[in-house]
């Protein structure tokens, strides 16, 4: 039985190698076709891969980084981008106390009601309110931003994933690469060149960025610059630092359970490995009296 399995494995790998060669060959001819004026695929440049505290099997968020990221979000991004799936209470994950969260929430006014007189009224937000967005609705957001809608940021780090391409997408399984969205956001934030390269026409009101996922330019102007925010923990606020911190914050916002998930996964897989080991020896014992 074992030999049958090995034989199969060898054959499968032979087949995979053969098909990958075929694919590699055709990919080459495709890029040739592109040069002859085929369709252009975005993004023009693949995201720059960064090292993140939350990558890998034991990855987890760095609370200090998330707090810095929140500051960038609050002072820069939140001017245009909403975060509608998050509640202020979620900020507890970042290591803030209940009082700190109450204070943070109270900076925003939300509409509540109707009260006993049947009227809607404004009140300071409470920890269990959702993050208040900068605009009343999408139409207002579009009209305030030259016809472009700033996307909601609560799932942004999961909602952007430029194609990895063959054969990288296969290696990704084994390297546990799941930070495509974070790499993308970081690259986009720091990837605005001083000027668009020669020969590239950029529409009025758009800004050239080779990392943008659905075109060569986007409506958002370069949002970050050195020393744009002042960090409370004394970290030097370079543009790269801010980009990295706010990206980590967005990764947390999109996947707040990552720490628990990876920890749980480690225990589950450890349990299954031990269980599989026990079953393997049980099976060996049970089958020892039967040639098969």
């Amino acid at each position: 039985m074992k030999t049958v399995f090995t034989k199969f494995a060898v054959r499968i790998s032979a087949v995979l190698v053969a098909s990958s060669l075929a694919v590699a060959g055709s990919t080459l001819s495709l890029s040739a076709a592109d040069e002859e004026g085929g369709t252009v695929h975005y993004p023009l440049q693949k995201p720059m891969e960064q090292s993140w505290s939350f990558s890998g099997p034991f990855g987890h968020y760095d609370k200090a980084q998330l707090q810095r990221g929140l500051k960038v979000y609050t002072e820069v991004c939140a001017a245009c981008h909403s975060m509608r799936l998050l509640s202020y209470r979620n900020l507890g994950d970042l290591g803030y106390s209940e009082q700190q969260i109450k204070n943070y929430a109270a900076e925003y006014d939300v509409i509540d009601g109707p009260n006993d007189d049947g009227e809607m009224f404004e009140r300071p937000a409470k920890p269990n309110d959702r993050f208040k967005g900068p605009y009343a609705n999408d139409k207002e957001a579009i009209s305030a931003n030259n016809g472009a809608l700033p996307p909601d940021m609560s799932l942004l780090a999961k909602a952007r994933a430029p194609e990895r391409g063959f054969p990288t997408f296969i290696f990704d399984i084994f390297t546990m690469y799941a930070e495509n969205g974070s790499d993308y956001i970081y690259s986009l934030l720091v990837g605005y060149p001083e000027e668009a390269p020669d020969g590239v026409e950029v529409q009025d009101g758009l800004h050239y960025n080779p990392y943008f996922v659905s075109g060569s330019a986007l409506a958002m102007a370069p949002p970050l610059s050195d020393e744009l925010v002042e960090y409370d923990d004394g970290t030097k606020a370079t543009m790269e630092q801010q980009a990295k911190d706010v990206t980590a914050f967005l990764a947390w916002a999109a996947d707040p359970n990552l720490n628990d998930r990876k920890q749980r996964g480690f225990i589950v897989i450890l349990f299954l490995l031990i269980f599989a080991g026990l079953l393997y020896f049980t099976k060996k014992k049970v089958w020892s009296d039967v040639a098969h």
Binding site: R11, V15, R261, V290
Partner: protein
């Protein structure tokens, strides 16, 4: 079920029930004393794995349905609130979504195993056909389930797939409207897809019972393809197959948990984390990976079929593509009759064995093509690969029966096992054919 029942109730309650509702006897005969060939390899464990996957999908699905809101403005948020705010909701939702993919991983291995060992040949044609029906129902269920989270890919996937039905001549548009509950994908579509997504798994479960029933009437095949001939050839299901299936299942679970806990988004699309927007079409609308080969077949037909030298179009490219796509699945129903060889297992079919692996490679490649945009070099490759897919079933399978020279087969399962174990068992070989089979 095959053979005499060996169930022997010992307790008073057991005897009472056995003469009224012998359910314990049924279970004993099906999963304890049921005889299985002694030489099954690990590829035969996927039937059991699939059954566990079905139960796992139903159980997680029922719990998710408790938190899901099938309404077009609330569905997306309800899924994400489940992931964020419900205890273990994150794991639950990933388990169900990754589970769908792993269900298809298992079913593809199961189908390829059947094709390799000729498991569809007489007397197991009905067993095979029921399997194809289950596969079809799985596809429908998975597609509708993917629509429910109401992301961009859900919405536009539904738009593309329901559009297939409008290709049907005369009644197409009406059928599509009934399917959608309106003129476009909307709240009514979401509601009926939710209802059907809840219904279909139970229909699958019903057909699985028939599938297992037919299996227990005909008995299992085995890697030699030689039918069970004596008591020596078989062993009781419990403990032998039970422990073997359990081990394989746990190994399969390890792979699944790797994805659930460490790469939950790897098998999905980033675009589905954007709420459905009828006004904004994604750059590339791509189905889930398990539909990709069929998506490539669909797009391979980009030409009208008509009467040559006239303007008359009999089948336009849209209908042609849809027919080819459904044909790619429908052809599976006829495999028991398309394969004309009397030899079951590919182990004894030197030519079929090569064509089988070419077919597997082509199917994988077809899947890759399905993920590519329909432009440039990809279109001719899609056509070639689609042609190879149908050529395998419609030409190679029927012809091999005539031209192939099968290898000598062992006289019995026991013979094969003993010969391999080198125990000096009988090396007598029966039915060794030195010439091609003569047909007609």
């Amino acid at each position: 079920m095959s053979g005499h029942s060996t169930y022997n109730p010992t307790t008073g309650f057991g005897k009472f029930m056995d003469s009224r509702l012998p359910i314990a006897r049924l279970i004993h005969d099906s999963f304890v004393s049921f005889p299985v060939p002694r030489n099954l390899n690990n590829f035969y464990t996927f039937g059991g794995i699939l059954m566990v996957m079905l139960v796992s999908q139903i159980v997680t699905g029922i719990v998710i349905a408790m938190h899901f809101t099938p309404e077009s403005t609330m569905a997306f948020d309800s899924v994400h609130l489940l992931r964020r705010d419900v205890s273990y909701g994150n794991t639950l939702q990933s388990w169900h979504a990754v589970g769908a993919s792993m269900f298809f991983v298992a079913v593809y291995i199961h189908i390829f195993r059947g094709l390799y060992y000729g498991s569809y040949k007489a007397p197991r044609e009905v067993l095979w056909i029921l399997g194809v029906v289950i596969y079809l129902l799985m596809m429908a269920t998975a597609f509708m389930g993917y629509v429910l989270p109401w992301g961009q890919m859900s919405y536009w996937g539904a738009q593309v797939i329901t559009n297939f039905f409008s290709a049907i001549p005369l009644v197409g548009d009406t059928v599509r409207e009934y399917l959608l509950g309106g003129y476009a994908v909307g709240n009514a579509t979401l509601n009926r897809f939710f209802s059907l997504h809840y219904l279909l798994p139970f229909m699958i479960a019903g057909i699985v019972i028939l599938h297992v029933w037919t299996l227990h009437v005909t008995g299992q095949t085995n890697p030699t393809g030689v039918e069970v001939k004596s008591k020596q050839d078989v062993i009781p299901f419990t403990p032998y197959a039970t422990v073997k299936d359990a081990f394989a299942m746990v190994v399969f679970m390890i792979v699944m948990c790797y994805f659930v806990f460490f790469m939950p988004d790897y098998l999905g699309h980033a675009d589905n984390y954007i709420m459905a927007n009828p006004l904004k079409t994604p750059a590339h609308i791509v189905p889930e990976w398990y539909f990709l080969p069929f998506y490539a077949v669909l797009r391979a037909v980009d030409f009208n079929i008509g009467i040559p030298f006239t303007e008359i179009v009999l089948i336009d490219s849209k209908l042609g593509g849809v027919l080819a796509m459904f044909g790619a699945i429908a052809v599976l129903f006829f495999v028991p009759w398309l394969d004309t060889s009397d030899v079951r297992s590919a182990n004894y079919r030197p030519m079929y064995k090569i064509f089988f692996w070419l077919f597997v490679a082509n199917a994988v490649f077809l899947g890759y093509l399905g993920s590519r945009p329909a432009e440039g070099i990809w279109i001719p490759l899609m056509k070639a690969s689609t042609f190879a897919y149908f050529f395998h079933f419609l030409v190679i399978m029927p012809l091999l029966g005539w031209f192939e020279k099968p290898l000598p087969r062992p006289a019995s399962i026991t013979d094969a096992v003993l010969a391999k174990a080198g125990n000096g068992g009988s090396s007598h070989i029966e039915g060794a054919t030195a010439e091609p089979q003569s047909k007609g």
